[in-house]
């Protein structure tokens, strides 16, 4: 491996982490199969390395291995070497490794909400490590925690630590977790997709905070993510992984400007998919018309406030907004799962009964849904043939060979080999394949309108692009209308004809895509648009300068 690390010569100190020929096996239940096939990694003090690749590439496994830890069902193959600051981790005892973890190597997990113990206050969890390792006394550690909270720009740093995890928002929790990782001033922090579960507006503040604190303490970091734009902001060096093997490693600027390998180029090109905007058909009644809908969950406050928009035949309407803005609730009102408290939903000019139980089979058939998490959207104990075949049987009354040929036809439509997938169960498929099955189930009902609820946000970019292209092709072939719920504006840019921006349960702005992406915007649309990370490595720096460090994310009130 040639040393191409871009850090300034003054910073180039000794090598902190040196992984040589790392091989890791995973246990399938019968045999050991290699999942990491010989990866080298060299990290200097104060350097931030980004690990990117699609899921299953072994990013997180390498991250864990950097702590000398093999996850359940995996083992580090003999012959691999993981040297942390001169200590060989593959041969040291469990007790030695445990002493390193937390104090010298820290880990920040993807879901802070799942990683904090909900029964203890944040600061008690924060001070656990320094007190345990006798680095600080309890009170000192608390004061230090408050200082760290301040540095990470958490609101009310003196008080926020005394709250419980559920009393703090997701972005704040992720920053509190970063502060916790910092509590012992480790030499190395491993960030495992720290912002993947966050909204774009929240993501910025976490990114800015992480970058600042890593700079301030000159901590080395491994930053694992599948989002290229994010890694461009954070990392000095980028390493691209594919199926447990290194594709290439370059300094961030070089990697972005001139990727060498084809695979890397294909990753870079993903965001290029875009299709032309369609105009509304003239003098047509909208297929779905949401008119002045208000909605509330039982006994709760209003979640939707006077929401109206139209969806025309064969068009894609993207509904964007951060989580909690009422996007999914709108979908529930349209499908009839949540009857609106006032207002109505029209289908081809005819009002739909507010509750789904009162709708006719044909009305139910017309509007189908594709879900975000294909794992929970497909019954794991039902065969693919039954999952897809059931709607066809239920609505069209097909059976026997007619049903089988219809299922085959649908599998062909979503580009999966019928003979291979017919008898399989969902857990045997990959994430992208599961999402395709979800699409096929929706198509089996022969609908005219499909609600896509964050269908690509749980998928890798390459896979997500495949799904978007498939949806686009299906729209052309079957003249479908889509309501596309998303918080990812890149997706909107790729597939939408019209955009509806929602905030706090209200429609803030709506219009054709091109119009929406050209200024002037509503301030909230502007915030959303400017918060989407771009591939330019200086994007975050520029943005922070423009907005000021204290005016990003939740703090940016519009």
């Amino acid at each position: 491996m040639t040393d191409t690390s871009p850090i300034a010569p003054g910073l180039r100190k000794e090598v902190l982490l040196d992984i040589k020929d790392l091989k890791i096996d995973g246990y399938t239940g019968e045999e050991w199969v290699p999942i990491i096939k010989g990866v080298d990694l060299k990290l200097h003090r104060g350097e931030v390395m980004g690990l990117i690749g699609e899921s299953g590439a072994g990013k997180s496994t390498i991250g864990a291995a950097a702590m000398g830890y093999a996850r359940d069902g995996t083992r580090i193959v003999e012959g691999s070497s993981i040297e942390f600051d001169g200590i060989e981790l593959t041969t040291s005892t469990e007790a030695d490794k445990r002493a390193l973890r937390g104090s010298r190597i820290a880990y920040v997990a993807q879901s802070a909400a799942a990683s904090f113990n909900p029964a203890h206050k944040l600061i008690d969890q924060h001070t656990e490590a320094p007190v345990h390792y006798r680095i600080q006394k309890r009170m000192e550690a608390q004061e230090d925690a408050i200082q760290l909270y301040e540095r990470l720009r958490l609101p009310n740093p003196g008080e926020i630590g005394f709250r419980y995890p559920h009393q703090v928002s997701g972005g704040q929790l992720q920053r509190a977790m970063t502060a916790m990782a910092m509590s012992c001033r480790p030499d190395l922090i491993i960030f495992d997709e720290p912002t993947t579960a966050l909204d774009v507006t929240t993501q910025i503040e976490v990114l800015a905070a992480i970058r600042d604190i890593v700079d301030q303490f000159n901590t080395a970091a491994i930053y694992i993510t599948h989002d290229l734009a994010v890694v461009a902001q954070m990392a000095d060096t980028i390493k691209v992984l594919l199926k447990g093997e290194e594709v290439e490693q370059q300094s961030t600027e070089k990697m972005l400007a001139a990727p060498k390998e084809d695979y890397t180029k294909s990753l870079w090109a993903v965001r290029s998919f875009e299709r032309d905007q369609k105009a509304r058909p003239e003098n047509a009644t909208p297929l779905i018309s949401v008119q002045n809908v208000d909605a509330a969950y039982t006994g709760g406050v209003k979640v939707l406030d006077d929401v109206s928009f139209d969806i025309y035949e064969g068009m894609t309407v993207a509904v964007v907004g951060e989580s909690g803005s009422g996007k999914s609730t709108t979908a529930r009102c349209i499908t009839g799962l949540l009857p609106p408290t006032s207002g109505q939903v029209l289908f081809k000019g005819e009002p739909l009964p507010p509750k789904y139980t009162d709708r006719t089979k044909d009305q139910l058939r017309q509007a189908q849904m594709i879900y975000q998490m294909a794992d929970t959207a497909l019954n794991p104990k039902v065969r693919i043939s039954e999952i897809i075949g059931r709607p066809a049987k239920f609505y069209s009354g097909l059976s026997g060979t007619a049903l089988k040929s219809r299922v085959d036809e649908l599998l062909d439509l979503i580009e999966l080999e019928p003979s291979k997938y017919y008898d399989r169960f969902p857990p045997e498929l990959s994430g992208g394949q599961k999402q395709r099955i979800g699409i096929a189930r929706a198509l089996a009902a022969e609908p005219s309108f499909i609600i896509c609820d964050e269908v690509t946000s749980a998928l890798d970019q390459l896979v997500a692009e495949g799904i978007l292209k498939l949806l686009d092709r299906l729209q052309k072939e079957l003249n479908l209308a889509y309501m596309f719920i998303t918080h990812d504006l890149a997706t909107v840019r790729a597939i939408a004809d019209e955009v509806v921006v929602m905030q706090h349960g209200k429609v803030v702005e709506q219009g054709p895509k091109l119009e929406m992406f050209t200024p002037p915007h509503h301030p909230y649309t502007d915030l959303l648009l400017s918060s989407v990370p771009e591939m330019d490595p200086n994007w975050l720096t520029t943005l922070l300068e423009e907005r000021g460090v204290d005016n990003v994310g939740e703090a940016a009130d519009v």
Binding site: D72, G73, T335, G336, L337, Y356, R359, K361, L364, Q368, M369, Y371, M373, T376, A377, L378, N379, P380, K381, V382, E386, R390, P391, F394, Y395, R441, A445
Partner: protein
């Protein structure tokens, strides 16, 4: 020092030396500590204590051997997918399955296996065991062994029927409550609370005193006592399933409750339900045996393990173990079922990932 004691220590010492030589840490520690304990035991309890240790070890080894052989046998005859699951079964589970299998054979083929009739008086009361009567005679001179075999059919069959009845009622109510929710859920929940608030044995005694100790009454009474527990478990398990997106998708498709229960929810909640079935079966079995012991269960002259314990109870004061044989049969089945249930719980709980 008899030959037995010499052989006993020679075996232990040679075995521990071999274990130490081949660097088998675990077996060595076990064997050698057993040797050390045996020195003390030999001094305190004499050859008798050592003989007891040797017999226990042999019984354990025999049980382990037969469990292993039975497991391999099952793996060979089972279809591919089941065989894969069976491979993960620990020896205890294999032992449990073997015992259950034996009881099932005994129960189903009782008339052919038992050498004498269920209520046939063939000798004097409490006659000792001989070649004709393997376990001796009971208080009326009936063959104990034959009655144990018939008892397997009566006691286990009754408990099985009662458990199935409890499961059908409880699981159906639980699934419906989870799917329908709202007032139906509330009503069923409170109704289950009411039944659970009545002490189970008192409720059973009350029912049996009112309607008389007939088989049907026993089954219904026991099923009513145990159904609320099944209801609660099923409702909790199904409650986790009904919030999934695939249920929502099926509801939006316009599917009825029965389809949801049968096709979508039930396949995803079978594992905990099967484990619970094994557990409940043990409780039901013990309750049925207890009722028989109190004289309100299966009526004589039908052979039943619970009442056999009671009828022969007087023999205990003479130091005879005859009344303990049916009790041991009850205990063995309970232990066996629990072994199997443990394995199933382990499979369904996801602990296997550790």
């Amino acid at each position: 020092m008899g030959l037995f004691v010499i052989l006993y220590f020679a075996f232990l010492i040679i075995a521990s030396c071999l274990a130490a030589y081949f660097e088998k840490r675990g077996p060595f520690i076990l064997l050698f500590s057993l040797t050390l304990v045996s020195f003390v035991l030999g001094i305190v309890g004499g050859a008798g204590a050592l003989r007891f240790v040797a017999i226990s070890a042999a019984v354990l080894a025999f049980a382990a051997g037969i469990s292993y052989a039975f497991k391999e046998f099952l793996i060979i005859i089972a279809p591919k997918n089941t065989a894969k699951e069976l491979k993960t079964a620990p020896l205890t589970a294999a032992f449990g399955m073997f015992v259950i299998f034996t009881y099932a054979i005994a129960g189903i083929f009782a008339p052919w296996i038992a050498p004498h009739g269920e209520s046939e008086v063939i000798s004097s009361a409490f006659a000792p065991a001989d070649a004709n009567m393997l376990l001796g005679a009971d208080q009326l001179g009936r063959d104990m062994f034959s009655r144990i075999i018939y008892g397997a059919r009566n006691t286990v069959g009754l408990a099985l029927l009662a458990t199935i009845a409890a499961f059908v009622m409880g699981a159906l109510a639980g699934l419906l409550a989870a799917v329908k929710g709202g007032w139906f859920d509330q009503f069923m929940g409170r109704f289950a609370d009411v039944i659970m608030s009545i002490p189970s044995l008192i409720f059973a005694l009350l029912m049996l005193s009112i309607f008389g100790p007939q088989i049907g009454v026993i089954i219904v009474a026991v099923a009513i006592i145990y159904a609320p527990r099944v209801f609660r478990l099923t409702r909790a398990v199904a409650g986790n399933v009904v919030v999934m997106d695939y249920i929502e998708a099926a509801k939006l498709r316009g599917e009825g409750d029965w389809y949801l229960i049968r096709k979508e929810i039930l396949p995803n909640s079978t594992a905990p339900l099967v484990a619970e079935f094994g557990l409940e079966f043990c409780f039901v079995f013990l309750l049925v045996a207890g009722l028989s012991f109190l004289g309100l269960g299966i009526q004589p002259p039908t052979a039943d393990w619970g009442s056999m314990v009671r009828e022969n109870a007087t023999l205990i004061s003479f130091g005879d173990i005859t009344p303990l044989i049916p009790a041991a049969a009850i205990a063995l089945l309970t232990v066996a079922v629990n072994f199997v249930v443990d394995w199933m719980l382990w499979r369904s709980s996801g602990l296997k990932e550790m």
